[in-house]
Amino acid sequence: MRSPDGGPEVPAEVFLAVRDLAKSFGRLGLFRGVSFELSPGEALVVTGRNGSGKSTLVRILCGLLRPTRGSIEYRVGERLVPGRDVKRLVGLVSPDLVLYEELTLLENLRFFARVRGLRRSDMELQTLLTQVGLESEGARRAGTLSTGMRQRLRFAHALLHEPPVLLLDEPTANLDDAGVAMARACMARQRSRGILVVATNNREELELGDQILRLGG
């Protein structure tokens, strides 16, 4: 992870500990008793039938949703990361994630880099687009992309700030074989440098995890 002013690499040893997590919406209970721990280099696969709460769990891990019970702790070294700052550590790929249709891909990435306080040159953004297979689409408006390309763009957006924690919700949905290869490459790269969490029902992806969490059991 680079330091905020775009300087040299700063090792980010982020640890995640989840204890007895439960979530319910009003009277509808989704899941309970979820616990796991992840260290850098480890991957968790979350699986379960539709509606079992996979996406909700991912949202909670992003710091966007509060759990009904239980705790989530992100630690950098010994320091506990406060709730506000969790989103800086986390990159998300999710079907709900939509980028700005009227802006081009490069404009979108430029915007998200700027609001995160990152200094990224256009060349670096172009490299990122190449990494996800969108190298010639930089000047296209995001609204004109196909579903497969949108998914690739989501990866570019998630990796923009080189997050220590990558959360993927249905990562290979809508991707062709080349796209799936790209996704697998990203996952492998993430595992070598940080934490990976994948929510999926895809049997092949189940093999990727050091730990497997089944919801709705």
């Binding site: 966007l64 939509v98 700005y100 009227e102 609001v115 306080g117």
Partner: protein, 219 residues
């Protein structure tokens, strides 16, 4: 602060590319001008009435368009990405700036047109400009936080006017008073109470909104 600027520029870029709000506001303003013009005809109206009508037009223009800034993010689904990337204060400041600029630009066009249609004489243009500026800031400040609130509720657009109007009454009262003085040609000092009120309203509303915004924005 640069982050807030980025949010502002992003919204500006979006608006310039599809112009929904600008079009809606322009259409609304022109239509209202024509209607009022017809209704009034060639009567000479007292300054207080002209002032009141002007601010009614601006108020309705504000209510017609200032909620877009948050509604669009929620409706298109881009709010998720924004929540993940930006601190709440920067979101608020960026959106506030956008609304101020949007409303201010509208006022810059509508006010002279309106006064021309009314055949009103402007005694103190400097004072009028100042009242318009502070009034628009006040309208935008209250409207922005209300827009943020209703974007997270169900009925959304329908709620905006009802929730915003009571909060905007003080701006309306002070701005109308100040505009009346300006039209009558009174010196700056005569509208001191109104100007002071508009300024303090804006400051307090923005400060309170900054402090409260994260409770609206975060889940």
């Amino acid at each position: 602060m640069a982050e807030a600027g980025a949010v502002f520029l992003k919204d500006l870029q979006q608006e310039l590319r599809n112009r929904y709000a600008l079009n809606a506001m322009a259409l609304f303003a022109i239509t209202t001008l024509v209607v009022v013009g017809f209704a009034v005809g060639s009567q000479a109206l007292p300054a207080s009435v002209v002032a009141a009508l002007l601010w009614v037009v601006l108020l309705f223009t504000a209510v017609a368009s200032l909620s877009r800034v948050f509604l669009r993010e929620e409706e298109t689904g881009t709010a998720l990405a924004l929540r993940l990337a930006v601190e709440p204060e920067h979101v608020y400041l960026g959106k506030l700036l956008f609304n101020v600029v949007l409303l201010g630009a509208m006022a810059l066009v509508v006010a002279p047109l309106f006064l021309a249609v009314m055949q009103a004489r402007v005694g103190n243009p400097g004072l009028l400009a100042l009242v318009l500026l502070l009034g628009c800031i006040g309208l935008a400040a209250a409207s922005t936080i209300v827009a943020a609130i209703i974007a997270r509720a169900a009925a959304r657009g329908a709620l905006f006017g009802g929730l915003a109007f009571p909060l905007l009454l003080p701006v309306l009262i002070a701005a109308t008073g100040g505009t009346t003085r300006a039209l009558e040609g009174a010196p700056l000092g005569a509208a001191w109470a109104e100007l002071r009120l508009l300024l303090s309203f804006g400051v307090v509303m923005i400060t309170a909104s900054l402090l409260l915004f994260e409770h609206v924005w975060n889940e």
